[in-house]
């Protein structure tokens, strides 16, 4: 949804845009030992960076994207007019201020945006993995990202931040290696999927797998299961919006002036969903959608697993949005409760918004203020006079 939303709203938060950026790849032999018990290697991870890493390597921020996002978080790719999915937040003078911080945005394994995933060629067979690709978890994604951070020789990240599945990765980073994360900003996310969230993902997966063109995942020569994938994405889009934002955006307006008395798209909302679905098919691999939604469903840091050890001094800024019913505020509040129980420093705010789950990409005013000041406090610490809360 990220890449699509920004074209409509073009929100700004002050600051300038970054200019031209490019996606890079980091490949390591691995193999990664995955949570499933299988292994994966060699592994390629796509990423982008902006800003400069300082000599002490103390200003690095890892930004993590949502389900269908990519490493292109900010700035422009050469020849393109649409900036990255969080361009309003990352750049000179923006909350993730590239004059100050070195921002890395990493893609995930299992994806289809330059990293190793089901559409990649399996070196053992010379053919795309398809459904022979091993099942991956959010923990596995983070394990792969650790190789990338090691590659930069960064011991400790100033911050890990992301919304939705990006927030899950941020939480997983703290759970896996708290000593390497000075602060975390999980936005509109959860410690685990509820049955409702799993149910939506299951319907999404079933709609892909019900398309005969899916062919058990072996479609790379015959073409994507376009119908199934587009229906899957339509379901997703319904869950990203709120009742109010749909009312405001579409109401019951008709595409043409009268009812068609056929099964065409009479209402604007139908046209919108069809358009979104059709567009998505061009940019995302159906098998990746299956694997990644499964990884999200498997994610579970409840029951004290977020902060397992003692003396974790990662500081948290947890944000949720009022109209987000896909990742409702009580899930963020549960994160905060876990942190309080373990006496981990936390700031939490539920931001007013009518945009539903999409809010983390478009509702910028509150996020801008909170993230900017939170990061300054972490970065400047005591020198700012405000660093004595540790």
């Amino acid at each position: 949804m990220e890449a699509e939303l920004k074209t409509e709203t073009a929100p700004t938060s002050g600051g300038r845009t970054l200019g031209i950026v490019e996606t890079r790849e980091h490949t390591f032999a691995g193999p990664l030992l995955l949570e499933s018990g299988e292994s994966l290697g060699p592994v390629t991870l796509a990423y982008e960076t902006c800003g400069k890493l300082n000599r002490e390597k103390s200003n690095a921020i890892l930004v993590l994207h949502a389900l269908s996002g990519d490493a292109h978080a900010a700035g422009l790719h050469r020849g393109e007019k649409v900036p990255g999915w969080w361009d309003a937040m990352i750049g000179p003078g923006k909350p993730f201020d590239t004059n100050r911080y070195f921002v890395i945005c990493s893609n995930v394994i299992g994806g289809c945006k330059g990293s190793t995933g089901p559409a990649s060629v399996d070196p053992r067979t010379g053919k795309p993995y398809g459904t022979t690709f091993p099942f991956i978890t959010i923990g596995d994604m983070v394990q792969a990202q650790r190789h990338l951070i090691d590659f930069f020789a960064i011991d400790s990240l100033l911050c890990v931040a992301g919304g939705s599945m990006g927030g899950m990765q941020a939480l997983q980073w703290v759970a896996s290696c708290p000593e390497r994360v000075r602060s975390a900003i999980p936005i509109a996310t959860a410690l685990k999927h509820s049955p409702q969230q799993i149910a939506f993902n299951e319907v999404i997966r079933q709609s892909i797998m019900a398309d005969p063109a899916w062919r058990g995942g072996d479609y790379y020569e015959t073409g994507q299961p376009e119908k199934g994938l587009s229906v899957a994405r339509m379901i997703g889009h319904i869950t990203f919006m709120s009742e109010q934002s749909m009312e405001e955006k579409f109401s019951r307006r008709l595409k043409n002036d009268r009812l068609g008395f056929d099964f065409g798209a009479d209402f604007e909302v139908e046209g919108y969903l069809r358009y979104r679905g059709a567009n998505f098919v061009k940019r995302f691999d159906a098998n990746s959608y299956l694997y990644i939604t499964k990884a999200m469903d498997y994610f579970d840091l409840s029951g004290g697993r977020l902060i397992a050890g003692k003396g974790v001094d990662t500081r948290f800024l947890v944000l949720s949005f009022q109209s987000d019913w896909l990742y409702p505020s009580h899930q963020s509040q549960e994160i905060v409760r876990q942190l309080k129980r373990k006496q981990v420093d936390a700031t939490y705010c539920e931001l007013k918004s009518t945009y539903g789950h999409d809010a983390f990409l478009v509702e910028l005013e509150g996020q801008t203020t909170l993230i900017r000041h939170f990061l300054e406090r972490i970065y400047y610490g005591k020198e700012n006079g405000n660093g004595n809360h540790r």
């Binding site: 500081r315 939490y348 705010c349 700012n384 405000n386 809360h389």
Partner: protein, 220 residues
């Protein structure tokens, strides 16, 4: 450390003087974080706030403070016992329905509680009720009956009563009338009061949910 500007709010000054350097402090209803910012900057306290209002939270974060949005009425269940040295509840007690529950919670998660509230028995209030026959308005109770956020109307005497009933020890108390400290007849002359409370020695803290009544004999 320990020196503060002259224009500081008198109630904040009292609390500032009571909190020792390096203390762990939780402020319930911290607003824009003025008090905990002061404690953090000048006393090196490790501070945290709870606040309901989104804009006030922005102010706290601008100051570099940690604050969680939440309704203190629902309690402090996720905090372990005695994880703070002080739990501050300044000018919020009168807006809480479950006032006695929250006082107990404050003394569960904090070694001590600091509680500040407006005094409903101030002479101005008494006069306006007795002679005017109208719901009182004073500098510390500036609202009309229909727009007040207050749901509890208590006097200094009432508060001493609840402390006795619930077995809280009053370690210190300060009474204010504007900038002035009041020592004589505070229940009549003070516009507001601030108490420093603890549980008497030897009393377990966590199991004290049934403390009500037990303290009565000892304190009266």
């Amino acid at each position: 450390m320990g020196t503060i500007a002259d224009d500081i709010r008198p109630d904040h000054r009292v609390i500032f003087d009571w909190v020792e350097p390096g203390a762990r402090v939780l402020d319930l209803g911290c607003g824009g974080g003025e008090l905990i910012d002061l404690l953090s900057q000048q006393k090196d306290a490790r501070v945290q706030g709870i606040e309901l209002d989104e804009k006030a939270i922005y102010e706290c974060v601008k100051k570099g403070l940690s604050v969680c949005q939440g309704d203190i009425e629902t309690g402090l269940a996720e905090y372990p016992d005695r994880c703070f040295d002080y739990v501050i509840q300044n000018q919020s007690l009168q807006e809480i329905r479950k006032a006695s529950f929250l006082l107990r919670e404050a003394l569960r998660v904090g070694e001590r509680a600091i509680v500040g509230f407006p005094n409903f028995a101030h002479i101005g209030a008494r006069v306006s009720l007795f002679f005017g026959g109208r719901a009182p308005m004073t500098p510390s109770l500036p609202y009309r009956w229909y727009d007040t956020p207050n749901v509890r109307f208590l006097s200094i005497g009432d508060f001493r009563g609840v402390c006795a009933d619930m077995g809280f020890a009053v370690e210190k108390a300060a009474f204010l009338n504007g900038q002035k400290a009041i020592t004589f007849w505070p229940n009549l002359r003070a516009l507001s009061a601030i108490f420093l409370l603890s549980l008497p020695d030897g009393r377990a803290h966590a199991g004290e949910r049934n403390a009500e009544g037990q303290g009565t004999k000892a304190e009266r």
